[in-house]
Amino acid sequence: MARSTSKDAQDLFRALWSAYSATPTNLKIIDLYVMYAVFTALIQVVYMAMVGSFPFNSFLSGVLSCVGTAVLAVCLRIQVNKENKEFKDLAPERAFADFVLCNLVLHLVIMNFLG
């Protein structure tokens, strides 16, 4: 039972990997960016857990800026992905412009929050 599960899991990961390596490079770059942002957020949460959340606004702005960046990047990824039929008539340039605008708003707010 355990053997078959682990074999299944191995198969699964292999299939995942092969499927993923077929994605275009620009999407992979976005994925890396998302991973990096999430990783940064995690580091901050761990730090908060150890040191405490005293300047709560700093913690909030730090974590939410990372999570927000990640979320926006995921949105961008969804929009520029060629396999998503829903966004066929949305030009990637337009998607990127929206992404930049959203990021601008996000970081303006974050700057207000750093305190």
Binding site: D11, Y20, F56, N57, G68, V74
Partner: protein, 776 residues
């Protein structure tokens, strides 16, 4: 070729004509929404209404005079004496900033309007915006025709008029616009999947948070919709784009508003959105993996991902429950708790229960406030299900939730009104669509065109336009009944329009039946218009600081409130403190410019309870309490002479309850005879000796010799008495406001030496001293 070109051009012209017509109708709707709210200005004058608007007006005055930075740092020492109040950090600034911006804008154009004028007309302007926002939202849900109908309905829905007549300068005036506009941008993002609209959505959410505490409705409704979409298998990547950025940006922006601050991440009202935020990520990941894997491998993956995802969710839920459980009130504020459990407030927080707009509504108030829309809503819900889209699902969820909330609190009827308008707009427009199409189909001369025209919205717009303009007042309840039965037989027919070419013939109703149905619908809408105009003119435009009454000998105007406040501002010292029940706090600071002890911002229960205790104590004890607060004048509102029902004697039991909640020696049963509240000769001695009774009825017997109270419809219990610690300084023309001055201390001592009979009262006061003195 040429044959197909000609109809094409025809359609093009028709569409262009339709959009011009739609624009004109929208313009007219805006004018209608603005002008139907001007009855109060025409019938009375251009004044600020009621209680809270006076505070907003005063804040706006401060803002325009001192600028925005002083506004943020404003510590107001003229209220809540001796505590004061930090205005900048405890007020929802949206309304004030809006009016301030409007004021600066007008002045930069060299239009010298006064602050008061700008404040008075802010609400009508924003109700025009709100009806345009309704058009946009309904257009996203069901198309242009429904949008126009809904906008027209919203422009004159009585529930919304009640909060946005000219002069009613309150948060709701701009908040309803913000609410509808936020929903529109959410639906727009959901329909287009554009990040640009998502940004706009969070900005408009920010404006809503600035304007009104009701923003929690948005931040709970949208997650519920997302959850519903996921559960019913309607997840799409557009849903992700609409929701995820809104949560992050919206939370950050909400935390920027001082009055919300870290509550945006700390209180339970907002936790639902975070939970759904996590869920949507798990779901998005599942859908992504499903997309890149073969179905067989996906089954394996599903087991893995679901188990991991469940584990993560459980951990998150555990953390949230731990957080909630660790906070004292379980993280919910009193107002929100009373939403979930309607009996909560009356059980635990008398100060919330005492406000009439926090009570549950009665059935007639539904008919009064949304009128025929109440009957159209079910039809609208059915219309939303054919065909069901993400947007129409949202409309259904919105109406269901807002019906529940309006059932809990009268005030939230205001949230129900837009939903009711949207759904009724959809229902009406669909009905007109079916009827006019079947009429057109059977008119022989037009039958050639009908295939193309059928779905053209302009025909129903014309009909709608007619309904607004015809004010036929022939409707009776009987016709409404026939209308409803008509509606029922019509519903099944509404489904076909999606595939119109073939099924069109099936959806055609008999010619005569559809003519009659259209006429009845027009009558129904005419009835609604008549009711709305009546409500706007008669029911909801009284400013409540100027009262009028009609009697045999003509119109009477009672301007006692302004008379009293003017007396205060002219005859008292600038630093004198005026005590009154908290309802009149805002007006006293704004109109008389005197320091008050408590006001309508009920942030300190103990302080209000102190005033309540003083009002329900005997004269001497009350004098001591007021003297310890440095009060010089006491103001009571008394309606017994002219029959003004919302006076202090009718509010008195709440003073007893609120006072008794903090100071246990005030007991409600002492003021009731056999559970009945009465002020006649059967009243209890505690009641007849309390300060409120004495201040209200002092010298009242001199008016008619019998001391007949017209509100309670009885003769008062104790007619002849003298005041020992207070002296009357001013009573307005109709006795509606009476102002008393505290006698200086030495009188008290002499009186005490002369007759030492007041032993009992002195023992009670000394007992109280231990409990009461410590805050000061």
């Amino acid at each position: 070729m040429a044959a197909s070109d000609a109809p094409n051009g025809d359609v093009l012209i028709r569409n262009a004509f339709g959009s011009v017509l739609a624009f004109l109708i929208l313009l007219l709707i805006g004018v209608l929404a603005f002008s139907i709210r001007l009855f109060s200005v025409i019938k009375y004058e251009s004044v600020i209404h009621e209680f809270d608007p006076y505070f907003n007006y005063r804040v706006t005055q401060f803002l325009t005079k001192n600028g925005i930075y002083d506004f943020w740092n404003w510590f107001d020492d003229r209220t809540w004496y001796p505590l004061g109040r930090v205005i900048g950090g405890t007020v929802y600034p949206g309304l004030t900033l809006t009016a301030g911006t409007l004021y600066w804008f007008l002045h930069s154009l060299n239009i010298p309007l006064s602050v008061e004028t700008v404040c008075v007309f802010t609400a009508p302007i924003f109700s025009a915006f709100a009806s345009w926002a309704t058009y946009l939202l309904t257009k996203e849900i069901k198309g242009v025709g429904a949008g126009l109908t809904a906008a027209a309905l919203l422009a004159m829905v009585p529930s919304y008029i009640s909060r946005s007549v000219a002069g009613s300068y309150d948060n709701e005036a701009v908040a309803i616009f913000a609410l509808i506009f936020t929903f529109y941008l959410y639906i727009k993002t959901l329909n287009t999947g554009s990040l640009f609209y998502a940004t706009l959505n969070s900005l408009s959410y920010f404006y809503m948070v600035c304007s009104w505490g009701g923003y929690t409705f948005i931040i709970n409704l949208i997650p519920m919709h997302v959850l519903l979409c996921i559960v019913t298998g309607r997840y799409s990547s557009r849903l992700y784009i609409a929701y995820a950025p809104l949560v992050i940006l919206g939370t950050l922006l909400a935390a920027l508003v001082p009055v919300v601050g870290f509550n945006a991440v700390m209180t339970s009202e907002h936790f639902a959105s975070f939970l759904v935020f996590i869920i949507i990520h798990v779901v998005a990941l599942v859908y992504y993996i499903k997309g890149i894997l073969s179905p067989k491998m996906f089954k394996v993956a599903l087991a893995l991902v679901v188990s991991i995802g469940l584990a993560v969710c459980c951990a998150m839920v555990a953390v949230i429950i731990a957080l909630v459980a660790s906070s004292p009130t379980k993280g919910w504020s009193g107002r929100s708790l009373s939403l979930l459990d309607p009996t909560y407030a009356s059980k635990y927080i008398p100060i919330i229960a005492s406000v009439s707009e926090h009570q549950p509504p009665t059935w007639p108030s539904y008919f009064m406030d949304i009128n025929v829309l109440a009957f159209l809503i079910p039809a609208g819900i059915i219309a939303c299900f054919s065909p069901l889209s993400d947007a129409s699902l949202f409309a259904v969820l919105y109406i269901v939730l807002s019906v529940y909330f309006s059932g809990v609190m009268v005030r939230l009827m205001l949230v129900l009104a837009p939903a009711a308008c949207i759904l009724s707009g959809i229902a009406l427009s669909q009905a007109f669509d079916v009827f006019t199409r079947s009429i057109k189909f059977q008119l022989p001369s037009l039958s050639d065109h009908s295939h193309i025209d059928a779905r053209d919205a302009s025909s129903e717009k014309v009909v709608l336009d007619d309904t607004i303009k015809t004010d036929k007042n022939e409707d009776t309840p009987k016709e409404r009944m026939t209308k409803r039965s008509k509606k029922k037989e019509k519903e099944p027919v509404e489904k076909p329009p999606t595939k119109f070419q073939i099924k069109k013939r099936l959806s055609v109703l008999p010619f005569e039946a559809s003519i009659i149905a259209v006429i009845l619908l027009v009558l129904l809408v005419a009835f609604y218009v008549v009711h709305c105009v009546w409500a706007a003119a008669e029911a909801y435009s009284a400013p409540s600081i100027v009262l009028t009454s009609h009697s045999n000998d003509g119109l009477h105007v009672f301007d006692d409130f302004r008379e009293a406040y003017a007396w205060l501002s002219h005859n008292t010292d600038v630093d004198d403190k005026v005590a009154s029940w908290w309802d009149y706090g805002y007006q006293t600071t704004a109109m008389a410019n005197r320091t008050v002890i408590v006001d309508n911002n009920t942030w300190n229960n103990t302080h209000i309870a102190t005033v309540g205790t003083a009002m329900s104590s005997p004269e001497k004890a009350a004098w001591e309490i007021f003297h310890s607060l440095d009060v010089k004048y006491v103001l009571v509102v008394f309606g017994g002479l002219v029959g003004y029902p919302s006076d202090d004697i009718n509010k008195f039991l709440w003073m007893v309850r609120i006072g008794g909640g903090v100071f246990p020696h005030i007991k409600e049963p002492d003021y009731l005879r056999d559970g009945q509240y009465r002020i006649d000769s059967m009243a209890t001695p505690t009641m007849l000796n309390c300060l409120m009774y004495k201040l209200s009825y002092y010298r009242f017997v001199e008016t008619d010799g019998k001391a007949f109270d017209r509100v309670r419809r009885t003769e008062i219990g104790k007619k002849y008495f003298k005041l020992t610690h207070f002296e009357e300084v001013f009573t307005t023309h109709h006795w509606m406001v009476r102002i008393y001055k505290l006698k200086p201390p030495k009188n008290r001592i002499r009186g005490k030496n002369k007759k030492s009979k007041s032993k009992t009262s002195s023992t009670t006061t000394s007992k109280r001293k231990g409990t009461r003195r410590n805050p000061f």
